[in-house]
């Protein structure tokens, strides 16, 4: 069992910390601040607990988690939202700052890991 202050947590532990930190954070007001919240939160946790250098240009799996990049934005079927793909997940960002992280690859594709409302209280799925 890792302690929050120790390095070298495994990826699933770090991912759980990331989700918990996103849940606790104040709701974002718009798309840009929601993306920034996601990036800053993930990079902060990886910097503290992965023990791995930040190297987003390295496309290969280096053991570290990286936030979705603008190039990974896909065509969103829900108006008022942006859709990003990362390995294993769909990440929806609402124009109201809502964030939804949903599994798209096994195990349990379709299951929702985070559904955080925007500052107006609405979820991504309520937009459009």
């Amino acid at each position: 069992m890792c302690c929050p202050w120790s390095m070298d947590m495994d990826r699933s532990q770090r991912f759980a910390l990331f989700l918990a930190a996103l849940k606790e954070a104040p709701a974002a007001h718009d798309r840009a601040s929601a993306r920034l919240l996601l990036e800053v939160t993930l990079n902060r946790i990886e910097e503290a607990y992965s023990g791995l250098p930040f190297d987003p240009e390295n496309w290969k799996n280096d053991g570290r988690m990286y936030p979705p990049q603008s190039d990974q934005e896909q065509v969103s079927p829900i108006p008022g939202t942006s859709l990003f793909f990362s390995l294993k997940h769909r990440i929806w960002i609402g124009d109201n700052g809502a964030v939804r992280i949903e599994r798209r690859l096994p195990p349990n594709p379709g299951s929702v890991e985070l559904d955080k409302p925007g500052s107006d209280g609405n979820l991504c799925t309520k937009l459009g």
Partner: protein, 174 residues
């Protein structure tokens, strides 16, 4: 037709003869963005290619995936990506970024012919075949392997891994 559309077209033809397979294609919002081509198996097996226009096809495959991570294997051409995806589908192998490759496979993955690498090393094609075979047998000298990797445009890196999980690069040469 771009390289990813070529991959999709070939996969669609191949998939029509397969059972328990669903092919999913996700297009990017922006023209320079990344495409995702995914083979979903009824048994939960998944093989996915992410296409980056100027870098090629990144592949992952297996029954379980790590979140927010990079790809395990990278291929330059759609044909290489297609061949590997079909192979993965047939074998149900799981990809790994640390999967070792035989040196001849590495040369093919890098898109080099034997005669090109041999010429770069100043040896014959037959000589390169012998070197590649000796690498597979674990009987190659480090400087020979280093020259072979350099002839493909790379740099040989040797690491030492220990049971406690520690891994360090070993300094070889200067």
């Amino acid at each position: 037709m771009n390289a990813c559309e070529s991959l999709v077209s070939k996969l669609e033809s191949w998939a029509s003869s397969q059972t328990g397979l669903e092919l999913e294609v996700s297009k990017p919002l922006h023209s320079t963005g990344h495409w995702f081509v995914t083979l979903h198996g009824a048994d939960g097996y998944t093989a996915e290619a992410e296409w980056r226009q100027h870098r090629g096809f990144g592949l992952v495959a297996g029954f379980e995936f790590e979140p927010f991570s990079g790809v395990d294997e990278i291929y330059t051409t759609w044909q290489q990506a297609y061949d590997r995806m079909v192979e993965l589908w047939a074998t149900r192998d799981e990809t790994s970024a640390s999967r070792p490759v035989q040196v001849a496979e590495l040369r093919k993955l890098r898109g080099h012919l034997q005669k090109e690498v041999a010429a770069q090393m100043g040896i014959t094609k037959g000589g390169l075949s012998q070197i590649e075979a000796s690498v597979d047998e674990g009987k190659v000298q480090i400087d020979t392997l280093s020259k072979l990797v350099a002839a493909m445009g790379g740099r040989l890196v040797i690491s030492a891994a220990f049971p406690d999980g520690t891994e360090r690069k070993v300094a070889v040469g200067r």
